[in-house]
């Protein structure tokens, strides 16, 4: 059994902080690494130690295996946690860690290779008797191959990065004409996201539900599943909202799919936290989609309903502890929903919105968790993911959870950049979502409702009044060093509160 005392987190943003929080709770020192664009990032300030690793583009920093290994060795880190994205599913990195005697918090390089490569993963699952989506047997190396594959599988098809995950390097193709540019775009995105541009083609399931199972395995052959996450609310093939339990799920299907997920994990001697993604159609047929051999962005909703700290479990299994969790003692309590807050403009095709954060008001109170990393005055770099925060809400049941999400989104204010907050609020008011009747086409299907402007009686006039008073203050050059509230043109302390004219 190894006892981990210091962990280097080879990541940035909210997930780096998420991991450091658990490190702190376990009395483990945390080491941040940062690129030139990230010196002012919160994860640098949260860590016990912090080291510069290179220029802003991730290829020069967060994907620089040797530099990260060097830092880990110099600061005597026992272990590296890769987070998600970046090097989290990079077998070479895991292998280099092993070579240097550093614990890689994740599965073995062999399993990453086998499952991280979507093509090999499909083969493994077929062998293990788990249904997969029809598609190409290997990766696509030319435009001709792509065109031939389409003829065999039939349109529509999905182009996917072999090394992919998180929606990057994915393209849906409906017509033959789009195949070439789609393959190019998928390749280019895959290259920049994973450093590997191979892609493959799968049959596109119409009206699919994207449902995944969280699994945990240890080094002693044990594995459990922590139930499902429903991830069908997506835009640009990227998840926007996740919930658990899935409104589509039945207890029978849950236990069947859960068993399949555990079988899949055991088939490869999986260790640590992983996720088996399935597509489920309206008739409740399920197909293995891919396995993510890492922590998932949306892991907090599972933590919330099961009460298990998944990062802690990752660390304990990496230390060699046998799983303390027994399948039969696990249960889901209540309902949890995650909303991803992106710095983007939903009214303009979800275009990313870099820039400086002006003000933040965090939602608080019963059943609300936020995992974020931006702060007032922080300049969001253009080099990385536009996700700036995650809102995780729990309710005793789905109705209470949805109402609480609405309340939390109402409280959540991030100004200075455009965000998905208002859009998420509209999703929470959309009948198809409220009824739990949605698939991955939800946003497309409900476009009109989702892009509508909200009504606001006479707050228009109040806004004009606010701007007017601000303008008067400016032209009168009233300089306020005070942070607090004050009446127009005069200080609060000097003018006691007046209650009638």
């Amino acid at each position: 059994m190894n006892h981990i005392k210091k962990i280097l987190i080879a990541n940035r943003g909210e997930i780096a902080i998420r991991i450091m929080r658990t490190c702190r709770e376990m009395d483990i020192s945390s080491v941040a690494v940062f690129s030139e664009a990230d010196r002012t990032s919160q994860h640098v300030r949260y860590a016990d130690e912090a080291y510069y690793i290179g220029k802003a583009p991730s290829g020069d920093s967060y994907l620089n295996i040797e530099k990260i290994i060097e830092v880990a060795k110099n600061c005597n880190a026992d272990a590296i946690h890769p987070g998600y994205g970046f090097l989290s599913e990079n077998a070479k990195f895991a292998r280099r860690c092993n070579e240097e005697g550093i614990i890689f918090i994740g599965p073995s390089p062999e399993v990453i290779d086998q499952m991280g490569d979507k093509i090999k993963a499909r083969e493994t699952m077929i062998k293990a008797g788990i249904p997969v989506v029809p598609g190409t047997e290997g990766s696509i190396n030319s435009e001709e191959e792509a065109l031939n594959a389409i003829k065999e599988i039939g349109l529509p098809v999905m182009i996917k990065a072999s090394a992919g995950g998180g929606g990057k390097g994915m393209r849906l193709v409906h017509t033959k004409e789009d195949i070439v540019s789609a393959v190019r775009a998928a390749r280019s995105e895959a290259k920049s996201a994973f450093g590997d541009d191979s892609v493959y083609i799968e049959k596109y399931i119409t009206s699919p539900h994207h449902i995944e199972f969280q699994i945990l395995g240890d080094q002693h052959g044990n594995a459990v599943h922590l139930f499902e996450r429903e991830c069908s609310v997506q835009r640009r093939h990227q998840k926007m909202i996740e919930e658990t339990p899935s409104p589509l799920m039945t207890p029978e299907l849950r236990s069947e799919m859960g068993r399949a997920a555990v079988d899949a994990a055991k088939a490869v001697n999986y260790t640590g936290a992983g996720t088996i993604e399935f597509l489920v159609d309206d008739d409740l047929n399920y197909y293995f989609l891919e396995m993510n051999t890492r922590l998932q962005v949306e892991h907090p909703i599972t933590e919330r309903v099961t009460g298990v700290d998944l990062v802690k479990q990752q660390i304990k299994t990496a230390e060699g502890h046998p799983l303390e969790i027994q399948q039969e003692k696990l249960f889901q309590r209540g309902h949890a929903i995650e909303c991803r807050i992106y710095a983007e403009d939903p009214d303009n095709n979800f275009m990313p919105s870099a820039g400086k954060i002006y003000k933040i008001t965090e939602p608080l109170g019963l059943g609300v968790r936020t995992d974020g990393y931006v702060y007032e005055g922080y300049e969001i770099p253009i080099y990385y993911d536009p996700m700036i925060s995650k809102l995780i809400v729990w309710g005793a049941n789905r109705d209470e959870a949805i109402r609480r999400v609405r309340r939390a989104l109402y409280e959540y204010k991030i100004t200075g950049v455009k965000t998905s907050i208002k859009f998420l609020e509209r999703i929470m008011n959309t009948p198809d979502f409220i009824d739990g009747k949605y698939d991955t086409h939800f946003i497309e299907k409900n476009k009109e409702l989702l892009l509508a402007k909200d009504p606001c009686d006479n707050c228009n006039d109040m806004v004009a009044i606010a701007a007017y008073i601000d303008y008067l203050s400016k032209i009168n050059r009233v300089q306020e060093v005070n942070q607090g509230f004050a009446p127009a043109q005069s200080r609060w302390k000097k003018v006691p509160y007046i209650n009638h004219f």
Partner: protein, 169 residues
């Protein structure tokens, strides 16, 4: 002092009629409001009008007389139309009447590929340049039919927000 203010597409005149500390009487386009108004220097406003509690956050824009206003439910673009602004609008140099012939970057990013070169004929809606930011690639299209007059950037360049990338005539 009455001031003209543009909120999204609506224009109103606002005038302060009376003030007693935090209590203000104002006229907005002929409608009189009595409000209890407090604000911070950072632009957070708490207004109580007829018992209703409004929270408004004004975020200053690059232009000194422009704001984005956030209420609890909505976001508005605001502009103070004073004498100077009116003069600039009349001269057409207020920045609001943007040149619709150019392709500019709405936000900072990196040029993935310039798809046209100077002298090319281009049609409205045709892709002209690919920009990547925050791991997403966006294709920018020509706003009009025309000839590429000038290409200000090349592949791999980093661009600022609102920078003119390609000029078309």
């Amino acid at each position: 002092m009455a001031v003209e203010i543009k909120i999204d597409n609506r224009t109103v005149w606002v005038n302060l009629l009376k003030q007693n500390g935090n209590l203000l009487e104002l006229d907005v386009d002929g409608k009189v409001y009595q409000v209890d108004l407090l604000h911070t220097p950072g632009g957070t406003f708490s207004i109580i009008e007829s018992g209703r509690s409004y929270n408004i956050e004004l975020v200053p824009q690059n232009h000194p007389k422009k704001y984005t206003a956030h209420t609890l439910y909505n976001t508005f673009d605001l502009e103070i139309i004073d004498a100077e602004t009116r003069y600039l609008i009349n001269r057409g140099s207020n920045g609001t009447a943007s040149n619709e012939k150019n392709i500019s970057s709405p936000m900072p990013g990196k040029v993935v590929k310039v798809l046209v070169k100077e002298g090319d004929a281009i049609q409205k809606g045709e892709n002209a340049i690919i920009i990547a930011a925050m791991k997403m690639e966006s294709e920018y299209k020509a706003p009009i039919d025309g000839i590429v007059k000038k290409v200000n950037v090349k592949d791999g360049d980093t661009v600022e927000g609102n920078q003119i990338l390609i000029e078309i005539e």
